[in-house]
């Protein structure tokens, strides 16, 4: 850390000033001593400070590596064949290489959010000054930034305060990335520990980013009643000039809204968004529209709806410029991260820029000033829209029919499709004029267009399916509750009783990208299953959009049917990807509010608390990115299990418990120091679910915690068994592992279960005050 040991008392400073003349004094930070929370053992931890904790988790949840290919190609010693027990030219083996790839992904993810936060904070300080006060939720929130307080041991009250946390995070990202270098770390477990570290830094980066934008832009502040905003193709008013913003970093979109507001044109231009920028756009201005998650990009662009596209950073198709050109839509790039090879026109006049875009002299421009970018976008779209006249490249049916007839059935398309969609068959049907199979494909499509690329006849297959699903697409018009931000202290306080009594059997966090195996409907199904059962369901990012995209028979989405509060049966959209730490933060605040544990720099104790007591489980059903990897990693270190959908199996390793190894499931009883068997609770720290049915059953099971009261455990068991029977058609095989004493047994199932317990030779065990940390044992022996 940069500033350690540099604290100078005011008096001494005066003396200095008196002695040393003609000097300027540059103040790093004013430390407010009125904050009395004592400092824990690991403020701003180094890469090794929490390694013992990681090893504790990894002892129980051992990595199962899933290599993508047999070789490593990360340096010019390579490629190296690492199959079997071979080692690379640097001495690395396959396990270490796979864990290194995990670390690399987490570093990229953490860097992305941290750099995002840095950009945002820098930008906001430039505009509003470093003294701008932070505000997570006014008086309803005492712990303003639980992750940052926990990890860094600092309190952030102004924008400037945030820089210290970011300095730390950037340093950690750099250290962790450094460990990926050829000939650095040699142990797979140490790579894993470093991946956890990167994930933890990522949580800090995200928290800072969201707190900064919530505070300055006045997003909903921990508001259960955040406004409902419109979402879907059909939500766009096709008659208006339409700007599409894509990405994650909202200032340039804010630039658009601000300019429209200033010019009193809000409502005259349709501002629509894809991905997290859409979340944050509607958190800023609820009249803006959300098109959908990342997988909606291509079909929306090709449909020609957008008269101008502005991209910022993250999760933007790399071919946006090329695709936009096809429909004559000009592009404004607005982030240093994503310059698209465009000329930097930041210093040109608005008139010149608008003119060049409108006249089509350039296909796009790079404008690194968010206000100017916003102004240019608005001025240009007004003139571009009438010229474009919603020019679309979605083909008509005749074209598709002809293509269907010309298709050779070579299978290249389906072999390129991540979801193995039966495109050749759909082409056959299309030849006959039947587009129904294509419409079905669209439902299971992630919009990647690999099929287009693969087709030797260059058929725009994704456009074909878009055409086929057109009708349905235009009917998409839903309401999504906009991102509420943090959880209020009072909400945490109120769920205490219900959680202890099992009335709230767990917290289900559904996050991440839209790389779904079969349609996005699964998200809503899973959400409703748990909301109905009075779990708390917390959502963010693409998942928070997907959940909105299903209506019930009354035309209502889950956001309309279920409350937005952190309460039994709540369905909460916390916001964009960088809002994820509100979920971690809620778990952390449970520890501080119920158990009165100190947070400040006290990571290990709190993670131990959460792991053993807070029945929270994460699901990233469509996880695809390095950010999703680091977000998951941040949860792992906190001891929160995460489940991914089938494509998540490609992250190269799982962290799996072994329910059959009794010796793995002992904890200390903090009261006595005894080692107590607790059953596999939770059973895994990271695994892949194959189907949505499996996810539902698995997540219910992963809510078990050693600390469950008998009342709570019996409720959790009821749900687990009920879901297992419903989705699997049979009783679970493993209930004996989760029953500590007869009181745990759900009353209604008593006879049935007791029979099983007898068969399994079950024995009663104690319910400990559980901890994995010997030092937490209170009794001195």
């Amino acid at each position: 850390m940069a500033k350690k040991g540099l604290v100078v008392k005011a008096k001494e400073l005066k003396t200095d000033v008196a002695v040393v003349k003609d000097l300027q004094v540059s103040i790093g930070k004013l430390v407010d001593d009125t904050w009395e929370e004592p400092m824990g053992p690991t403020p701003m931890p180094s890469m090794t400070d929490l390694r013992d904790w990681d090893f504790e988790l990894l002892r129980r949840y051992k990595p199962f590596y899933l290599p993508f290919c047999d070789v490593c190609c990360l340096c010019t010693f390579g490629k190296c064949d690492l199959s079997g027990d071979k080692r690379g030219a640097c001495g690395l083996n396959m396990a270490a290489q796979q864990s290194r790839i995990v670390l690399l992904a987490c570093c990229i993810g953490a860097a992305t959010h941290t750099a995002h936060a840095r950009h945002l904070v820098h930008h906001l300080i430039e505009k509003h000054g470093g003294d701008f006060p932070l505000d997570q939720g006014g008086l309803n929130i005492d712990v303003e930034a639980p992750v940052t307080r926990l990890v860094c041991g600092i309190k952030v009250e102004t924008l400037r305060d945030m820089e210290e946390a970011l300095d730390w995070a950037e340093e950690q990202v750099t250290h962790c990335l450094s460990a990926c270098h050829t000939g650095q770390e040699g142990s797979n477990l140490d790579f894993e520990s470093k991946a956890f570290h990167a994930g933890m830094a990522d949580q800090v980066g995200m928290e800072i980013a969201d707190l900064a934008q919530i505070s300055v832009y006045g997003f909903p502040k921990a508001d259960p009643e955040a406004p409902l905003v419109e979402l879907g193709f059909g939500a766009t008013d096709v008659k208006k000039p339409t700007i599409l913003v894509i990405g994650h970093n909202v200032p340039s979109s804010v630039g658009i809204i601000d300019y429209l507001t200033k010019k009193k044109m809000l409502g005259q231009v349709e501002v629509t968004g894809i991905c997290c920028t859409a979340h944050d756009l509607t958190r800023y201005e609820p009249s803006a529209k959300v098109v959908g998650p990342i997988s909606w990009q291509l079909k929306y662009i090709r449909s020609g709806m957008a008269d101008l596209i502005m991209v910022d950073e993250q999760c933007i198709r790399a071919d946006t410029l090329e695709e936009a050109q096809k429909v004559k839509t000009p592009v404004i790039a607005s982030s240093p991260k994503n310059c698209l090879g465009l000329k930097n026109r930041t210093n040109d006049s608005v008139d010149e820029l608008v003119n060049d875009l409108v006249e089509g002299k350039v296909h796009g421009v790079l404008i690194l000033d968010s206000d100017k970018a916003g102004e240019v976008a608005v001025e240009a779209v007004l003139k571009v829209a009438p010229k474009r006249n919603k020019f679309s490249i979605i083909p008509d049916i005749e074209e598709i029919k002809a293509a269907g007839a010309a298709c050779s059935g070579c299978n290249e398309c389906v072999r390129a499709c991540p979801n193995n969609q039966p495109i050749p068959e759909a082409m056959k049907a299309a030849a006959e004029g039947d587009l129904a199979p294509f419409s079905e494909i669209l439902d299971n499509c992630i919009g990647c267009a690999r099929c287009d690329s693969a087709c030797p006849k260059d058929f725009p297959l994704h456009s074909f399916m878009t055409k086929a699903g057109e009708q349905k697409l235009w009917e998409e018009k839903y309401l999504m509750r906009s991102g509420r931000g943090a959880i209020q202290d009072i909400e945490i306080r109120n769920v205490g009783g219900p959680i202890v009594l099992g009335e709230i059997p767990g917290v289900i966090a559904i996050v991440g990208c839209a790389n779904y195996p079969e349609g996005q409907g699964a998200i809503a199904e899973i959400t409703e299953e748990f909301a109905k059962r009075r779990y708390i369901v917390v959502l963010s990012g693409c998942a928070a959009m997907s959940v909105a995209m299903v209506k019930d028979e009354n035309g209502q989405t889950l956001y309309e049917k279920y409350p937005g509060g952190f309460e039994a049966g709540g369905v909460l959209n916390v916001g964009s990807c960088v809002s994820n730490p509100h979920i971690a933060g809620a778990a952390i605040k449970i520890a501080s509010i119920f158990a009165k544990r100190n947070l400040r720099g006290n990571y290990e104790e709190i993670a131990d608390y959460i792991h053993n007591r807070v029945g929270a489980v994460g699901l990233a059903w469509g996880a695809m990115s390095q950010k999703a990897a680091s977000i998951a990693s941040g949860f792992w270190r906190l001891g929160v299990p995460v489940v991914v959908g089938p494509h998540g199996s490609k992250y190269r390793r799982m962290l799996l418990g072994r329910a059959d190894k009794k010796e793995d499931w002992y904890v200390y009883d903090a009261r006595t120091g005894d080692k107590v068997y607790t059953g596999p609770t939770p059973e895994h720290l990271f695994t892949t679910a194959e189907t949505k049915e499996e996810v539902i059953v698995m997540m219910a099971k992963l809510c078990f915690r050693p600390n469950d009261t008998t009342k709570g455990r019996s409720m959790k068991l009821t749900h687990y068994i009920d879901l297992h029977k419903r989705y699997y058609g049979v009783m679970p095989e493993d209930i004996h592992l989760f029953i500590r004493n007869k009181m745990d047994i759900p009353i209604t199932m008593k006879p049935e279960i007791q029979k099983i317990l007898e068969e399994k030779g079950w024995e009663e065990t104690k319910i400990p005050d559980p901890t994995l940390l010997k030092r937490m044992v209170r009794k001195r022996g």
Binding site: F64, C69, S83, A416, L656, T687
Partner: protein, 181 residues
């Protein structure tokens, strides 16, 4: 059928070590017969009956009946087994069974010792691909066979990319060779 096969998903290249192609179903049958402790892992795609997936789950049941091979049903596949009147399948998460198969000290579902041959079918191609890769690199005495219709190069042995009829016929031959019907 040829001895050269390409990964069904074009980009899912495996590296230097690629599955042997099961050019004739008899090979697979012989391997199952030879195995001391074989096991079969059946994923949810086996419950689907579109042209891609034939009647996998029935084949699994028939194989079990023919030679007593234990059946692990991943995800909710178990439900379909039960529906078909087959109550001997064990439900497990695909990663969990993969992880245990990797462990040479795992004594199996019945506690009688480690398996030496694991057959897979009905998992999403790429998911099976990576689990097979995990077993290829980290298991010690285990061979794997992919019985899917598609060539999965991370297995020890795999069918090449087959037509549905060829594939169905292969199952018939295997079951027949195992003494089943």
């Amino acid at each position: 059928m040829s001895a050269k096969a390409e990964s069904w998903q074009t980009a899912e290249i495996a590296g230097p070590t690629k599955a042997n192609v099961i050019v004739k179903p008899e090979i697979a049958a012989a391997m199952i017969k030879r195995a001391k402790r074989p096991i079969i892992v059946v994923g949810y795609l086996s419950t689907k009956t579109d042209k891609d997936t034939g009647k996998m789950i029935e084949y699994a049941i028939r194989m079990n009946k023919a030679c007593g091979i234990p059946v692990v049903a991943t995800a909710h596949t178990i439900k379909e087994f039960v529906k078909q009147g087959f109550n001997d399948a064990i439900q497990m998460n695909a990663m969990d069974i993969g992880n245990r198969l990797k462990d040479p000290t795992w004594n199996g579902l019945d506690g009688k010792g480690p398996y030496d041959l694991a057959l897979f079918m009905g998992l999403p191609f790429y998911m099976e691909f990576v689990i097979l890769a995990g077993l290829k690199h980290f298991s010690t005495n285990l061979k794997t066979i992919s019985l899917d219709r598609y060539f999965n190069p991370h297995a020890s042995w795999s069918f090449p990319n087959l037509k549905v009829e060829e594939w169905n016929q292969s199952f018939e031959t295997i079951i027949n060779k195992l003494g089943g019907n």
